[in-house]
């Protein structure tokens, strides 16, 4: 075996991987020889990329996503593609056309989603790092449920080129790992300007985590500890806040009144964008081929009906409706106003505090099949979606357990203040080690 080749033969009992690469060669660099898993909605040249959907079965991208190019250049060994909710649409990784991923902490529970495969691969020790994507909490939720660390970077800090779009204006690719240092290391590699993504900013991340948070001001929004949040989860997070105070931080209560509309706005925006993004999957160019004997519109209908799962179809229908003439003003336009209000609320609070802290998820990981009703599943996103609407950075890291299951603390920062978010997480992690 060549010096720069590794063998990867994991015991994937959690169905974390959709594709496993058994023999991987790698180069030199910051990530030399480190096993990295890539969520299967990120394009990888010559490796099948399915978004956990039947409609992309067999699709092998002819190009690498920008982040994949970057981690390869730094010597990472990309050992496989991880499971997700189809196209990222879900909070449990149960909505995968290739079966659910199980939570390594308790296999009767979901790992969270939609980056559940990446989280499970890390939590079970199969890989050291992974790339996830976060549209409304898809990195932070599974990080919280599986007891690992995951960062949703500031919108525009990491290029989305090659990420198969679900909701362009909300989503970011981000690093996931067991430690804050590893998350920071992976962030160093993937952040920065890419001319192929017109929404990317020239803000490279060259930071090394520092544990000093003396004088830090933390905002505690009452909405993150109120109705709908499991008091046991809230208490664990409150203990963690006490710990941060011991380290020299001060806490102040605050409020995000726009959160009342955040979830509704989020679901209108993400489904609207999704209805347009997913329209291209028609069986003409990739994925299972359309029946060419039929007229094009008949075969489109057939391919799309058979290729998309229930939740994806539901969101396409919702988004199509929200954008329809006569309803656009009522839904899409209003959602944009609500989004602006969320942004303003965060800006107002951040004029007085450095970070905002709360639980990542209102509960611990659900039992498999527990969230059978879509609305109750959507409600579980309430603490994560405001961050995506505002485009700000947020990290989730483990801060204790309830009923033996990990609880995640969420640290939200000002736009492009990802470094501070990392430092606060690092300070906490070092203190409880």
């Amino acid at each position: 075996m060549a010096e720069n080749e590794i063998t990867f033969e994991p015991d994937d009992r959690y169905n974390a991987f959709l594709t496993v690469c058994n023999r991987v060669s790698h180069g030199k660099g910051k990530l030399a020889g480190i096993t990295v898993a890539v969520k299967d909605n990120i394009s990888t040249k010559n490796i099948e990329t399915t978004c956990a959907s039947k409609i992309l079965k067999g699709y092998v991208p002819p190009y690498d996503a920008h982040v994949v190019e970057l981690i390869k250049k730094e010597g990472a060994a990309i050992v496989g593609k991880t499971n997700l909710d189809e196209f990222g649409m879900g909070t449990t990784t149960e909505n995968s056309a290739f079966g659910p991923t199980l939570n390594p902490c308790d296999t009767t529970r979901v790992p969270g989603g939609s980056s559940g495969g990446s989280a499970a691969a890390i939590a079970s020790g199969m890989v050291r790092m992974a790339l996830g994507t976060d549209t409304g909490g898809s990195i932070r939720c599974p990080s919280a449920f599986c007891g690992i660390v995951g960062l949703k970077p500031t919108y525009g800090r990491v290029s989305r080129y090659g990420l198969i779009a679900y909701a362009n204006s909300l989503e970011q690719i981000g690093p996931m790992a067991r430690t804050v240092s590893d998350v920071s290391l992976l962030m160093q590699v993937i952040a920065g300007y890419d001319r192929r993504d017109s929404t990317s900013y020239n803000k490279p991340y060259t930071h090394t985590p520092k544990a000093d948070i003396k004088g830090l001001k933390i905002g505690i929004p009452n909405e993150y500890f109120g109705e709908g949040v499991d008091p046991k989860v809230a208490n664990v997070v409150k203990d963690a806040l006490t710990q941060l105070e011991h380290l020299g931080a001060t806490t102040v209560p605050c409020s995000i009144p726009s959160m009342e509309y955040a979830l509704a706005a989020y679901y209108v925006i993400c489904t609207s964008e999704a209805s347009s993004n997913l329209a291209r999957f028609d069986g003409v160019r990739y994925g299972p081929a359309a029946d060419t004997k039929k007229s094009w519109h008949d075969s489109y209908q057939e391919v799309r009906r058979a290729g998309f799962g229930t939740e994806v179809r539901r969101r396409i229908m919702l988004g199509t409706f929200a954008l329809s003439s006569g309803y656009y003003g009522k839904y899409y336009a209003k959602a944009q106003i609500a989004r602006e209000n969320v942004r303003k609320d965060f800006a107002r609070i951040f004029s007085e505090v450095d970070v905002i802290v709360g639980p990542t998820m209102p509960t611990i990981a659900f039992k498999l099949g527990e969230k059978s009703d879509p609305l109750s599943m959507y409600l579980a996103d309430i603490l994560t979606v405001p961050v995506n609407l505002a485009g700000i950075p947020a990290i989730s890291l483990p801060c204790g357990k309830v009923a033996g299951m990990p609880v995640g603390i969420q640290i939200m920062g000002k736009p492009f203040d990802d470094e501070r978010v990392i430092d606060v997480a690092f300070a906490y992690e070092q203190a409880v080690k």
Binding site: S43, P62, S169, A279, R285, L323, S325, Y328
Partner: protein, 483 residues
């Protein structure tokens, strides 16, 4: 009886911008002579995960157009997605501009049907991407199928929308010609590229519903389609029927419009802002983007600099290539050539080129100057000048070796016969003796007989003589015979 005053026409014109690369990726736009799907990449194929990057040049070109049309460039414009399914549209949405176009509120001056100057208001100018192209194959017996070529996908288009300011199909055609000239002068458009222009026209008779005619792809087609619609709509009204508000397709081959299926009219495009592109703030570019000399200015210059008549000046400057050609032709000796060149380019060359479907680019300006000099020096007659021009064009068209005008004159012995030569006297003698009937008729005062005799003489000189000269000589000869 209805007058033309009651016809109301507005146009939506789509033109391909001749940038080097596509609107949102680096693929070359020079695809016409290449195999299908060879000018493509993840972006213009709409592969999952690929993202658009705006071509700055296309925006500069659009601003140039906006400026030439006296439009206001909007402070913040944005791109939107127009969502619809069709196999030539790889992303299932077109990136275009919707409620925030790049520029609005301009005008273009044309010559009205009454010959006066008239302003057509421009509603808006925006930029968008061209979809791919379907090629329909097979036949009903063996089964039809379609192939998709994405070479065209992502070519930048500008859409220019007018107010309903035109009052006849002819005015619409004039507007288009003027617009084409303006865009070519700006260097942003090449009308000779196949499929580079597409027009949708809205037409109504005052007081009744408006009809949209789609799928017009030529300058002549616009006039044809609208003329057909005027007749159709007027006939309906004359019979006391109503004009339905609908979309119709122009069938170029048959010169008619056909009702589009009602299904196609019910599109809800679900426009929303393109989240992968940032809003455009380009108002500040406007001043820095220079405008070249435009058709109206060049027309005035031709009138003062070359003493062209207004009609010649209008024709010569109506197409960039013709105007450039004219200036190249007269360059060696403007004082002597400007007048004869204006006549020969505007009144003769353009017609001969159109007849052969040739571009003026295919003819060498130097040779044309030489031809004019032969005429000017009286070496060939006008008639043989035309003959000579045709030979030159045909040699070019048939890809034969191109001779110089002088070489053709020598080879075919086209030079004018000197009026005092014995040969010419002999020819006139022969014509008179071979046509006693005509001579008789002439003597009896029938003037047509003289024309006949001149014609016969022209035939014998193979056009090498000046008809006026022949006329004078025949009259003299007959007079001498009488005496």
């Amino acid at each position: 009886m209805m007058t033309n005053k009651e016809i109301i026409v507005g146009l939506e014109v789509h033109c391909q911008l001749n940038t080097k690369s596509k609107l949102f990726c680096g693929c070359s736009t020079d695809y016409r002579s290449d195999n299908p799907n060879t000018h493509v990449c993840p972006v213009c194929l709409g592969l999952p995960g690929a993202m658009p990057v705006l071509n700055k040049k296309a925006i500069e070109y659009t601003i140039r157009v906006a400026k030439a049309l006296n439009c206001t460039v909007i402070k913040e414009s944005e791109f939107s997605r127009k969502n619809y399914f069709y196999p030539d549209l790889d992303k299932a949405y077109q990136i275009t501009q919707y409620d925030k176009p790049l520029a609005e509120k301009g005008e273009l001056e044309i010559e009205s049907d009454e010959g006066r100057e008239k302003r057509v208001s421009i509603t808006r100018v925006h930029v968008e991407e061209d979809p791919g192209r379907l090629v329909h194959m097979g036949n009903p017996e063996r089964g039809r199928y379609s192939l998709v070529d994405y070479n065209r996908a992502g070519i930048p288009l500008i859409e220019i929308v007018t107010d309903p300011d035109m009052r006849s199909p002819k005015e619409a055609r004039k507007f288009l010609n003027k617009l084409r000239a303006t865009l070519e002068y700006l260097g942003v458009f090449d009308s000779e590229k196949e499929g580079s222009l597409r027009v949708d026209a809205n037409i109504s008779i005052k007081g009744s519903e408006r009809v949209e005619v789609k799928n017009i792809t030529s300058y002549k087609g616009v006039e044809k389609a609208l003329t057909f619609e005027v007749t159709r709509q007027k006939n309906l009204l004359r019979r006391g029927l109503k004009v339905d508000r609908e979309t119709r397709h122009f069938v170029e081959a048959r010169g008619i419009t056909q009702s589009a299926r009602s299904k196609e009219q019910e599109h809800d495009y679900r426009y929303f802002p393109e989240p992968d592109l940032r809003p455009l703030h380009v108002q500040s570019w406007v001043d820095a983007i220079p405008l070249p000399e435009l058709p109206d200015a060049r027309r005035s210059r031709f009138m003062t600099q070359y003493a062209c008549s207004i009609n010649h000046a209008r024709t010569l400057t109506g197409e960039l290539r013709i105007a450039n050609f004219y200036e190249k032709v007269v360059a060696p000796d403007p004082a002597n050539l400007n007048s004869i060149a204006a006549t020969w380019v505007a009144d003769i060359l353009i017609g001969e080129l159109n007849y052969r479907n040739m571009s003026v680019d295919s003819i060498d300006a130097k040779s044309f100057t030489e031809l004019l000099q032969l005429l000017k020096k009286g070496i060939i007659t006008d008639k043989n000048g035309v003959e000579l021009l045709r030979i030159m064009l045909d040699q070019q068209l048939n890809k034969q070796p191109c001779e110089t005008p002088q070489a053709i004159v020598t080879r075919l012995n086209l030079a004018k016969t000197a009026s005092d030569s014995n040969a010419l006297s002999k020819i006139i003698y022969d014509v008179i003796s071979e046509n006693p009937k005509a001579v008789e008729d002439y003597k009896n005062g029938k003037n047509g007989a003289l024309n006949f005799l001149v014609g016969q003489a022209m035939k014998k000189t193979r056009g090498r003589s000046d008809p006026g000269e022949l006329n004078r000589m025949i009259v003299e000869k007959l007079k001498n015979r009488e005496e």
